[in-house]
Symmetry: C2
Subunit: 93 residues, 2 copies
DNA sequence: GACTTTTGGTTTATTTTATAAACCATTTGG
DNA sequence: CCAAATGGTTTATAAAATAAACCAAAAGTC
């Protein structure tokens, strides 16, 4: 049985990647709401995805407030797709 | 986004459940080979699945050697199926 | 027929992960 | 001003997964 990419096999990181697969970009606040995660946990997991090169994280300003925008990278998209294929062999899909 | 049953969202436990979904029963040695896990890790994870009532574990003897046989329970089957449905919403399947 | 190895595990320790709690700077509202 | 909210990060803690050490019985080995 093939290994499931451990970076993607985490509920929160998978949820983030899942969202980013379907959207051009998403900011921190949106991801936090959609995933119902705490800010701290989300921050940590975004860092991991970013370090792996799976997402791009841009920290900028929206008016006077900070705004962190995330988008999936090519490598991220490929890793996600491979993860899905591997998972299918586990789930009999 | 719905929570992914954490008991099933583990590579090894998921692999075990996946195997048991397709087979009447499987013994420790078979599961160990199929999943390429260590005996210690497998032992621990089988205990967890057993404690959760997802699998039945029978410790008996095959001739003179010990033999641990596992099979999925009704509750295990249902949990697995629900897990798959939830996961589909993450994977866009 | 002692002794080493293999088989089939379990138990305990260690490492890794995920999560939560505490914190910080800025901003907004009263 | 002062209190609370916003948008985060950093650090500590809890929970997992994994590995290492161990154990009893059986089976070869010389």
């Amino acid at each position: 049985m093939k290994e499931l990419n451990p970076l993607l096999h985490s509920q929160l990181r998978l949820a983030v990647m899942s969202i980013l697969m379907n959207v051009e970009e998403a900011d921190f606040v949106y991801l936090k709401e959609k995933t119902e995660s705490t800010a701290g946990n989300l921050s940590v997991q975004l860092d991991k995805l970013s370090s792996a090169g799976y997402i791009a994280v841009e920290k900028g300003m929206s008016g006077k407030r900070p705004r962190t925008v995330c988008s999936i990278t090519r490598a991220g998209r490929e890793a996600f797709e491979e993860y899905v294929e591997t998972l299918k062999t586990y789930l009999n899909l």
